[in-house]
Symmetry: C2
Subunit: 95 residues, 2 copies
């Protein structure tokens, strides 16, 4: 998992198939608490699976703080090693 | 992909790794237009990937009707061939 700054002051969490879902969930919850909005980006089935599980777990973490988050899946074009790839991103924000 | 009736008059769309994302997206959009609420259920990374892509595509279909949908990922225990498995479900509903 890697954190980087996107546009509009959005923190993008890059998730791989080897990312631990609970660790990503903790990061999502932290970013939501800090700035109220997070983007989780994944390329490939294994990474998307970890990202989706992480959002489900983050929901339970944030519910303890009374924060009810929803997610919006969308495609995103990203450049990796000069190659264009299609990522799936989950925008996570309070309902 | 299989459609079945869940509780609370909810239609559950069961997605596999071999499901076509655009076909699932069309089914999600149809269910949302009909009853305003759908659940997409997937077991395994390949299935979760197809389900997440389908929700992203369904969002674009429904946006054409002026319907802005969000999704809520959650874990669900399901019984398959007398074995308990953990599925990931995406609840899809208007924002």
């Amino acid at each position: 998992m890697a954190l980087c700054k996107g546009g509009r002051n959005v923190t993008i969490l890059k998730v791989s198939a080897r990312s631990k879902a609970t660790a990503v969930a903790g990061a999502i919850a932290g970013v939501i608490r800090d700035v109220g909005h997070a983007e989780v980006q994944a390329i490939g089935a294994g990474a998307v699976n970890q990202a989706a599980k992480a959002v489900a777990i983050a929901r339970s973490y944030l519910a303890l703080d009374g924060i009810d988050v929803i997610c919006i899946p969308a495609f995103a074009d990203v450049i990796i090693a000069d190659q264009q790839r299609t990522a799936l991103k989950f925008v996570v924000e309070p309902r």
